[in-house]
């Protein structure tokens, strides 16, 4: 993933979407038609402030602002878009919820609305109408969006994170079918890649996106979990120890230094040809296309393998949007989300995001982006394959805190680098989890 975007500190950049030119006249036409038909009519004089995560791909933001401009022209409702680095959205939203003032709409990570369920606008009517129109919400979207039977947020999209590999290296290592679909086969591939001097590597450092994504897959694929359905810590288990042993074996076959990797390290190493397999979003491939690099032709993406758990155990980022009850313009908030998720707009936005972002509504399986390039197609499924943060437990702030504190990443890093035995690393991580889930 893009290092500088991830690491960018308070950007404070704002864009008044209404002032933007709209490239395609079709978009404005659709927007006006939608404004006539929608059941969510914006209030007179409505003006919205939207706080969002800072984009990773410029074309996504450009398209988003274009859509907002169309919304403004169709409804007369001005939208001010504020950007913050993804780690800073949650603290700002929490303060806004507490003081009852701030952005009308916030768009942040994972389970953001669950941090202050009683402050969120009830979006049930909107979610129901969208679900009905677009083939229903995928299960992970419902988990992130609903509190009980009430929708308190809309997971606008998911951010996929999959195995990125060099086709030629895998062929040379004897894996011409690409990445094996099971854990054991995957380990064999990593060993074989190391054998030909083209090793694999994934981040074991404090890498918020990439590190958390693959380590949670490794943990869950062995049937282990941090907590049970009642949020009781159950991490200290033979399955978690087996997962640590497995990751240690993987790391032994990887390029040295992965324990120091952050979100940008694997991109650099893969693009420079230092590693031939890693985990990442679509950004490496996109960079290959944008910069005309040969690597784009010699790389592809693969699902994470399936382990003893027997089902996909992936963790992909969810980007959930919420509106606050304190907003003076609740209907405008709903109208904006409704507009964004309508086919004419959403397809265009997915296109702009270049498969970096994936839909939460089933009907968008047919969006043109997923068939325009077979190497992007795999990202279509990340919303359906992902487990939610917290897995078996709640999706609230405790799960978010456990991810933010890198408990799983550090457990594997301790075991993989030999700082602790697998059993000790698991016990240590379980103690940390107990602190959060106390």
């Amino acid at each position: 993933m893009d290092k500088f975007s991830r690491r960018s500190v308070l950007q404070g950049t704002t864009a008044l979407a209404g002032g933007m030119a709209i490239a395609g006249s079709d978009l404005l036409g659709w927007a006006k038609a939608w404004a006539q038909e929608t059941m969510f009519k914006t209030e007179d004089g409505a003006k919205l402030q939207l706080l969002r995560w800072k984009r990773f791909i410029q074309s996504e933001e450009d398209t988003f602002l274009e859509l907002m401009a169309a919304f403004t022209q169709a409804t007369g409702c001005e939208v001010e878009v504020l950007n913050e680095s993804m780690d800073d959205v949650q603290p700002k939203a929490s303060v806004a919820a507490n003081v009852g003032s701030g952005p009308d709409i916030v768009w942040g990570l994972f389970s953001l609305p669950h941090l202050f369920t009683d402050k969120c606008l009830d979006l049930t009517d909107l979610a129901d109408s969208l679900g009905e129109k677009y083939g229903g919400w995928i299960p992970a979207a419902e988990k992130y969006g609903k509190s009980g039977d009430t929708w308190i947020g809309l997971p606008i999209c998911f951010g996929g994170n999959y195995i990125n590999y060099r086709i030629s290296a895998c062929e040379e290592a004897g894996f011409s079918d690409g990445v094996p679909e099971d854990n054991e086969g995957f380990l064999e591939l990593c060993k074989a890649l190391n054998g030909i001097g083209k090793p694999a590597g994934m981040a074991l450092g404090h890498a918020t996106g990439d590190g958390n994504a693959w380590t949670h897959w490794a943990l869950w694929s062995h049937g282990a979990a941090m907590v049970d359905e009642n949020d009781k810590v159950i991490l200290d288990s033979p399955e978690a120890v087996a997962a640590c042993d497995y990751v240690k074996a993987l790391n032994d076959s990887w390029i040295p230094g992965t324990a120091s990797w952050n979100d940008g390290s694997n991109n650099k190493a893969f693009l420079a040809g230092e590693v031939s397999l890693t985990n990442n979003g679509i950004s490496i491939y996109q960079k290959g296309i944008d910069d005309g690099l040969d690597i784009k032709d010699d790389m592809d993406h693969a699902y994470y393998p399936i382990g003893p758990a027997g089902t996909p155990t992936e963790l992909h980022i969810s980007w959930t949007m919420l509106a606050f009850q304190y907003s003076k313009y609740p209907m405008a908030c709903k109208a904006l989300m409704d507009f964004l998720l309508q086919k004419e707009q959403y397809d265009k936005w997915l296109e702009g995001a270049k498969a970096y972002l994936t839909h939460p509504l089933n009907a968008y399986d047919n969006a043109p982006i997923w068939t325009s390039d077979p190497k992007r197609t795999i990202f279509r499924d990340c919303g359906k394959r992902t487990l939610v943060a917290g897995h078996r437990g709640s999706v609230g702030e405790k799960a978010a805190a456990a991810i933010a504190e890198f408990i799983v990443v550090d457990m594997f890093a301790n075991a993989a680098t030999g700082q602790m035995s697998s059993a000790d690393a698991v016990k240590d991580a379980a103690r940390k989890a107990e602190r959060i889930y106390r």
Binding site: G257, A259, F406, T417, I436
Partner: protein, 318 residues
């Protein structure tokens, strides 16, 4: 006569001024009124945040929620938290080692620059460069220098045939600790050097002349003239140096984010991670509050130890 005298006695005018009016014009209170603006600023921007932080450390506050008073519960949890103790250990190692080396190199550079060297002004300006560069920028430079795959140090050593494999600077706990300490030293030396140089220039050359006539060696010159006269400025420099190092955040956050496996977490970075990213404001504040005794101890040692008059005069302590 008597009546007349009484009739013409000067009339004592007793002014009935209120307490507030008397305070306003009292010379005894004048100093207080002049200090009031400064006092207000200090209270608002120093004391209030400090007390608020201590208060937060005794609550279960989350970001955006004020929380309830929980007494010392946060501290009790921290007492049994291995990551907290790792961060305390890291902070002490980081501070003590970096401060000592920064002092040694800084003093050496200061003495060197105090001599008559060609291009003295240019050299002094160059020495200040690491201090001028924004911390985040230098941290990113070090992040590249220490990169597991692209390190210039590893590349050079490999090209020279001294090593076969790139150095795992930030992937091994102790390598990572020494690496961030080295980055901190690089950044902190100019402050020590330039401040000590300012101190050195206040030492009268006549003292050295007299000592030289008495047959003092260069070491004796340093030990019995330079060092005693420099101790007040050393006290100030080391106090600030220790405070800056102990509370360092940017370097660590930009280079390692506390990794690998918390091996480089300082108390400041752990506090931020728990309070802001994890959302546990109370616990983060407790970690920050736990830094206060260490910082107070550092200040006490500097001020009451190094500033003893007898030390300054080169006599032994009794």
């Amino acid at each position: 006569m008597a009546d007349t005298a009484l009739d013409h006695a000067p009339v004592l005018v007793v002014e009935h001024r209120s307490f507030w009016e008397r305070l306003k014009v009292s010379r005894n209170w004048l100093g207080f009124w002049f200090m009031l603006p400064t006092l207000t600023i200090l209270l608002a921007f120093l004391l209030y945040p400090l007390l608020k932080g201590i208060w937060l450390s005794m609550t279960d506050a989350r970001i955006g929620r004020s929380g309830n008073f929980v007494g010392l519960e946060n501290f009790i949890w921290l007492w049994g938290d291995s990551v907290f103790w790792v961060s305390v250990f890291n902070t002490l190692v980081y501070t003590s080692f970096a401060s000592i080396v920064k002092f040694a190199i800084g003093l050496y550079l200061a003495i060197l620059l105090n001599n008559n060297l060609p291009f003295k002004s240019v050299l002094r300006a160059i020495i200040l460069l690491p201090f001028i560069v924004p911390t985040v920028l230098s941290a990113i430079a070090f992040w590249w220098i220490y990169d597991a795959q692209f390190s210039i140090i590893s590349w050079t050593l490999t090209e020279l045939g001294l090593i076969d494999q790139y150095v795992n600077f930030l992937g091994d706990p102790w390598n990572a600790r020494w690496s961030v300490i080295a980055a901190n030293i690089w950044r902190g030396v100019p402050f020590v050097a330039i401040t000590l140089l300012a101190g050195l220039q206040t030492v009268s050359p006549s003292l050295y002349e007299a000592a030289t006539i008495d047959g003092a060696t260069p070491w004796q010159n340093f030990r019995f003239i330079t060092y005693p006269l420099l101790t007040p400025i050393i006290a100030v420099v080391m106090t600030f140096s220790v405070l800056f190092t102990f509370t360092d955040f940017q370097l660590i956050w930009a280079i390692t984010r506390g990794g690998p496996a918390n091996a480089t977490h300082l108390m400041a970075t752990l506090s931020y991670q728990r309070a802001i990213l994890g959302g546990y404001m109370g616990e983060g504040a407790a970690i920050a509050t736990a830094m206060i005794p260490f910082l107070l101890a550092a200040i006490m040692i500097s001020w009451f130890g190094l500033q003893r008059r007898k030390w300054q005069q080169g006599e032994s302590d009794d």
